[in-house]
């Protein structure tokens, strides 16, 4: 019975590894952030924008959050890490799991991305272009789903902006996932090997968008 149920789980894993499955998973985590009001959202987003540019701070935050989620008390911290943690702690200094869970999931997704991508995400946040980049990555993952085959995917021109090219943040974000964006006829050649990184990028953008003002 154990082996049969394990086998069944493997089958389910295969069928959920497509865009619909990803949307469900990310949606489930993002739902945890729904109750947050505007002020802590802004504080979280501001702090995340800063730690994205500092790998050590990002690692420290991940570590402290992990410890907190294992039941430990969260000591007050300085800087952006402290600002983020203050949004997630209860008066008892224990983490509020419903909020800390999604943030920990976001940090897990960020850990799959490269340092270059972290800096670019911070740039995109600062430029206020999160929504366009999110919709671009969503469109790419949706069109290439179920992700097992190489194929050319056209990108919606309205999401590319006037500077679509090798220096554009969204271009580099995709390139760093192992994809090859093209300029002339805006498209990306989908590579099945890029699915983990692109899915993680999608999750990061989705959760950051959830924290952003509409």
């Amino acid at each position: 019975l154990k082996f049969l149920s394990d086998g069944l789980m493997e089958d389910q894993l295969e069928t959920t590894e497509d865009f619909q499955g990803l949307q469900l998973e990310v949606g489930a985590w993002a739902a945890g952030l729904e109750g947050l009001s505007e002020e802590p959202c802004g504080q979280l987003l501001g702090g995340l924008g800063q730690v994205l540019q500092d790998e050590h701070a990002l690692e420290a935050l991940e570590e402290l959050l992990e410890r907190g989620l294992c039941g430990g008390q969260v000591e007050p911290q300085d800087g952006p890490v402290g600002a983020i943690l203050e949004c997630l702690v209860l008066p008892s200094r224990q983490l509020e799991e419903e909020l800390a869970g999604p943030v920990s999931y976001l940090l897990g997704a960020l850990a799959v991305l490269s340092e270059t991508q972290h800096v670019l995400l911070a740039e995109v946040l600062e430029m206020g272009a999160l929504s366009e980049v999110f919709r671009l990555v969503r469109s790419l993952l949706e069109q290439s789903s179920p992700w097992q085959e190489r194929r050319a995917v056209s990108l919606p021109p309205e999401l590319l902006g006037s500077s679509w090219g090798a220096e554009a943040p969204s271009w580099v974000l995709l390139e760093e996932c192992g994809l090859a964006p093209q300029a002339g006829d805006p498209q990306v050649c989908w590579e099945p090997e890029a699915r983990c990184c692109t899915s993680a990028l999608y999750a990061c953008l989705a959760l950051l968008s959830k924290l952003s003002p509409p």
């Binding site: 590894e17 998973e25 920990s104 997704a109 590319l160 006037s162």
Partner: protein, 262 residues
């Protein structure tokens, strides 16, 4: 980064089955030597696995006696040379009703060249078997292992690496040119043109001995140690009551299947 590009390129060429995990930074490369231990958090996603993290321990640090690790086997070296010279061209036209037009062209070229000597170092499967038979886990358990156990992380040992044989300097150049014009209608007609170019050069030196990619086996610690040369998604390193791993929103810890149960 230039280092990541070289690693990706070499790994793609030498490892079609994608069994090797590329090292993502030159800085962390030293922590992926054969016999080094790596930690990994349980995944909170179906779609990606967390990265392996160096835990600053080698297998000798957790085993008795404190003897050096057995030597590793070395394959004959590969020579890898790649020159990339690419041209990129693009144009964009935007017309917003009632607001004007913007048009632009961009052309870019990038080039890079890499010539590297690499070799595979691996621990022979028979070595693992002998070590497992002859060496026991140190008591008390190493502090770092205790921490990993408490966090519910899994522990892996590096079994095979792709290593640089000679120091190499990689240079990447990127050139871009662009021009554009815009016209904004209204009471005052505004038109303009712009042109520019940019050149970027990046050089990185990768020292001899740098690990570019690695392969792992999973450690099983309960109560003594074992090794899974083909890690099983559902097998966990520690399966004691202290394990505190999380896998998803509202999820239960996965029941672990032990080798002896099979």
């Amino acid at each position: 980064s230039a280092f990541e590009r070289v690693v990706k390129s070499v790994v793609q060429e030498l490892d079609h089955s994608q069994e090797l995990t590329p090292v993502n930074s030159l800085w962390s490369s030293a922590g992926f030597q054969p016999y080094c231990l790596l930690g990994r958090r349980p995944s909170s996603s179906w779609f990606w696995r967390p990265r392996y993290k160096c835990v600053s321990l080698s297998l000798r640090d957790i085993l008795e006696p404190d003897a050096p690790e057995p030597a590793v086997e070395q394959d004959s070296p590969f020579h890898f040379h790649e020159t990339m010279d690419g041209q990129l061209k693009g144009s964009v036209k935007l017309a917003v009703p009632g607001q004007g037009k913007i048009s632009g062209k961009a052309a870019g070229s990038s080039s890079s060249s890499a010539s590297v000597n690499v070799c595979m170092l691996r621990v022979a499967p028979s070595t693992w078997e002998a070590m497992r038979r002859e060496r026991r886990l140190r008591k008390p358990e190493h502090k770092i292992l205790q921490q990993l156990r408490h966090r519910g992380d899994d522990v892996f040992v590096v079994t095979e690496v792709l290593q640089m044989q000679k120091e190499v300097e990689i240079t990447q150049t990127h050139k871009q040119e662009g021009s554009g014009q815009f016209a904004l209608p209204g009471a005052i007609c505004l038109q303009g043109k712009g042109q520019g170019h940019m050149s970027r050069k990046k050089t990185v030196t990768i020292p001899s001995g740098t690990i570019l990619a690695f392969r792992v086996a999973q450690l099983i610690i309960d109560p003594d140690w074992d090794i899974l040369l083909f890690p099983n998604k559902k097998q966990r390193t520690f399966s004691g009551p202290l394990q505190a791993g999380r896998t998803g929103p509202g999820s239960q810890p996965e029941p672990s299947l032990r080798v002896s149960d099979q």
